[in-house]
Symmetry: C2
Subunit: 285 residues, 2 copies
């Protein structure tokens, strides 16, 4: 099997590691606009060699793991270049604009729109790890538009990697993911910002911060290059979640200001049921 | 050594576990208004027997690990009951009101105001674990008001438990801790609330939530009984942090609405330095 990975960072590189293990005979090709990352990926043995669009027609599988703004621009060029028997899938955190970008493409049947919900706050090829996707959910959109035999090849890989598959339409994906992923990132970034701004003397943060702060602010370490275009593409949903989040914070602040501590207690008590909701989420990063 | 632990949950119980290990000859006494928790604490061998205020005069050490509202009410009664050679320390997440409650007490010299920055999102005696405090910071306020020999007894325990000691005045403690701890809890609770409200169909949360959401929302599992009085006692600082947090969120939302994605990128990029700030925080829960 010949596999090309376009964008060889945390996400693409972690695919490479699993494919190496599951398909020892596969040849892995890499492409990255960052020459240094490309060299690292070869040094780390994530890929065997670099490739170009001219070679994509030979591939059995092309994984596109690049920021979603570049994805939306490049995906038609990638589909132009691949062969009739190549399956192409993306891993972007937004789905509506990606699906729209290729809806009229003659090779639409070669493309599978995916979002594996996995990652860490780190980035680059050296952040790639084995088994990142094991037990994680992979959301697939518009599956009916992909040729059955090509779907099958990708789905077999996902299954062997241990992913759970969920099918969803692209608009529903973007709406729900704004709540459970995009909002978490913004709340974490703004928490980090608020504390950094206040605590000019960083020793104070360092000495007083515990594992609770660390956990809540962890996502503020994430890559701005990856997240900025996600917020841009999912603007309407993200703004809506932010409005609701800000309203909830304002209501909570008002209760504190008005000494309504019964209300404060009740809010936290009813939110405690997040425990049960979270119980089934696989927690390995 | 005779040690009484008043309030035998996660925090008090974890002290009990370490004292058992470090002082095998110590006798541990427990007190809890919740009879079921008291029984659990004995069954789990956290304490040897229950005790009452009438016995506190015999103790070498009294650890007061109860919600801060009860603490502020009870601490004078506890000091009334202890002996001249007993050292009493609390573990409350606020310090100004606690210190104020005992400032004129004739046994003020028996009291050491402490805040070990450690915990998990769980509560109750069964949540108590060994080594919870190892490598964690313990903030001590108004140390000069505690008799030197009694300080020494408590500090030796803290040192043997592996805690790092920091001295701070109570007002500074309450101000800084609002940023690095209290605000994290509120941001997490309100994130949980926002998502739960929106996602009536919890399967959607469950299937799409990843480790990033789990990490950011973890503190929303915390005990409302513990946290409500903390927000009440630290009201002014908490409201101030919330105002700044909300302002930052509103500014971020405005940038998204106005398509200022350069600004969005820059905000995240400058907040990324939380990585370096967090690098030294001990992360074992």
């Amino acid at each position: 099997m010949k596999v090309a990975i376009i964008g060889i960072g945390l996400i693409g590189g972690s695919f490479a590691r699993d494919i190496r293990k599951l398909y020892p005979a596969a040849t892995l090709f890499g492409m990255d606009t960052n020459a240094e990352n490309m060299q690292k990926a070869q040094r780390l043995n994530l890929v065997d060699q670099s490739t170009t669009y001219g070679d994509l027609a030979q591939m059995d599988m092309v994984i596109v793991s690049i920021p979603v703004d570049v994805l939306v621009r490049e995906l038609t060029n990638i589909l132009d270049a691949v062969g009739d028997e190549t399956v192409v899938f993306d891993v972007g955190s937004t789905k509506a604009l990606v699906c729209k970008a290729v809806e009229a493409h003659p090779k639409r049947r070669n493309f599978l729109a995916c979002h594996p919900i996995a990652g860490t706050e780190f980035s680059g090829p050296e952040a790639a790890i084995e088994n990142l996707y094991n037990g994680k959910t992979n959301i697939i959109c518009e599956v009916e538009k992909t040729a059955f035999k090509l779907q099958e090849r990708a789905l077999q890989l996902f299954q062997e990697m241990g992913m759970r598959i969920r099918y969803m339409n692209a608009a529903a994906h973007d709406k729900h993911i704004a709540y459970v992923s995009h909002l978490s990132h913004i709340s974490s970034f703004m928490l980090g910002k608020t504390v950094i701004e206040k605590e000019k003397n960083e020793r104070d943060i360092f000495d007083m911060a515990g594992s609770g702060f660390e956990s809540t602010v962890r996502l503020a370490k994430s890559s701005p290059a990856m997240w900025t275009p996600i917020f841009e593409q999912n603007k309407a949903n993200v703004v809506e979640t932010l409005e609701e989040y800000i309203q909830n914070l304002q209501a909570f602040k008002k209760m504190i200001e008005e000494d309504d501590f019964k209300g404060v207690y009740d809010e936290m008590d009813s939110t405690n049921r997040i425990k049960q909701i979270l119980n089934g989420i696989p927690l390995t990063k």
